[in-house]
């Protein structure tokens, strides 16, 4: 399956060369987890504070669940805030 990884703020440095601003795409085996996707790009799990799957927050246990499907967008931020 093909999924899209988006990295923001200080995590942008983990994007491969040639990535499109925030995003890169990759092939993953069916049944992959969000954490496995992060591992693929060397994003430290403890820096992935906000992990959104298609805009919906993934809680810690869900990041180890085999719930990724083809076409998913996983967007990740370190701890951030504003106002």
């Amino acid at each position: 399956m093909r999924v899209r990884l988006e990295l923001y703020a200080s995590l942008m440095g983990y994007l491969p060369a040639g990535a499109n601003r925030h995003a890169t795409e990759c092939e993953l085996p069916d049944g992959s987890t969000a954490h496995e996707l992060l591992d693929r790009f060397g994003v430290p799990r403890d820096k992935a504070h906000l992990v959104l799957r298609n805009g919906v927050f993934l809680h810690a246990p869900e990041r180890d669940a085999p719930l990724l499907v083809d076409g998913d967008v996983i967007a990740v931020w370190p701890p951030v805030a504003g106002g």
Binding site: H22, H49, G55, H59, A81
Partner: protein
Amino acid sequence: MAWTRKILRIDLTSGTCTAEALNMAWAADYLGQRGLATKYLSEEVDPTCDALGPDNKLIMTTGPLTGTMASTGGRYSVVTKSPLTGLVACSNSGGFIGAEMKNAGWDMIIFEGKSPEPVYLYVENDTAELRSAAGLWGKSVWETDELLHKTHQDPLLRVACIGRSAEQGCLYAAVVNDLHRAAGRSGVGTVMASKNLKAVAIRGTKGVGNVKDPKGFMDAVRAGKQVLADNAVTGQGLPTYGTQVLMNVINGIGAMPTRNMREVQFDGAHKISGEAMHEPRKSDGKPNLTTNAGCFGCTIACGRISTVDRGHFSVENKPEYWGNSGGLEYEAAWALGSDTGVDDLDAITYVNFVCNEDGIDPISFGATVAAAMELFEEGAITTADTGGIDLSFNRADTLVKLAELTAKGEGFGKDIGLGSKRLCEKYGRPELSMTVKSQEFPAYDPRGIQGMGLAYATSNRGACHLRGYTVASEVLGIPVKTDPLATEGKAELVKAFQDATAAVDSSGLCVFTTFAWSMENIAPQVDAACEGDWSVDKMLEVGERIWNLERDFNMRAGMTADQDTLPKRLLKDAANVGPAKGRVNDLDKMLPEYYALRGWTADGQITPETRARFGL
């Protein structure tokens, strides 16, 4: 005790400046700044008065920790009755003037009456005098600041003043201090203009003493600073990306109000985000962001200092805008950007400069432009009304032009200065105004963040994110993650945020500390500085008392509980994309529980028991 225990009362009608003692019994109940000034307002001003008449008062107020060594201890507020909402206004600002006022020996300055001629207040420690502002009236904030520094030959003078927008009656004019920090919301600058008061210039050299337990205070402050430094948000995220880091987050969860809140995601968000501000421009290789900046005593330093590309159409042949100036915060970027559909980072940075230069609240301005654009698209406004300006969504040139006109109160800028509600009423389409209690929304769509709908509907100053920022929990996971699409538990969450924020806003500290600090970190600092017992419970009790006092002022001003609502668009028209697709804001599921938690009746009245509990 951190309070100086002194108030400066300025009677603008007679031109007198008088020192008086701070009411310490009130300070024990309301702490300082937002709470204490609202108590003074509530006692001294008839809530039904004309906000722009001489019976209204304007209070500039510090908190007990303002001017101390506590991190972010530089905050001050402007409290008055708002001409935009007709309700209590309390606008909080950082920069340096709050600390300067405190260093001059004053907790609060109360302005009353109306000066027969334009004046400014000059304060140097114990000396306070009104001086003619004949040479300042008609000048921008930036010109006024420069002229006052020249007049007084003092580079360390701190200035808070109004720009031309306030003089021209823009209903959401700000009081700007230190060139680009602003008490921005609810038209506090318009009230200042109505009193013929152009500026307040302060020099204070006395220091802030009277701390109850100096050693304990230093220990509590040091511990607090360590927490801020070690926290990823306050130690790294905010200094690096500022509040603008939220642009992509809020867009990602589908809660980005777009094109007058018709849509919930903005396709140009990544072009105007905090990350985009770091990207080198094609023209000169420099990024929009030059550096971060901090307010007095702040160890977070979330402020932005930016430049506009010199070749950009907005600043072509205008070298006065080529230098560094106050850059975009998230709220400004949202209102000027996604709400109008403009994705031109240079254009919105320039417009933000203009907002600082002439004292305009960029949230209300951007949201009013967005409403005007929808009115134009609907045919309710035509180029015959606008003086030929095409108000189509997405047009950066239109945004730039309207900012310049509103700054000076010229042409169609007069209409934009009315704010969204009055503009939409004027052109016969009130339902297109995205406001609560006549104040424009900030940058979170309550269809995608349900708790914010309740926070907006019940905010004591109309639509506002800073009265109860449940985004922290619902989106960012601070202090715990809650589901932004759920309504369960949100009444309690909103109340907790509202009460805690009211207490923080009364202390002299910045609410952004609460991304890292809980009340357990804040109360010991207040307790060591201030006489009395300032436990966590006491702070929260004070916060709740303030909330009820503000509500009481508003009810006496004529507000009714049926104004605790949202525009129909957010209650009836479902979000069209993203995780909230198909959802409206379910306010009716949260509001009754909220009233009950507050100790109010089912129709939103403060009960006698609640009044008695808080001594109202």
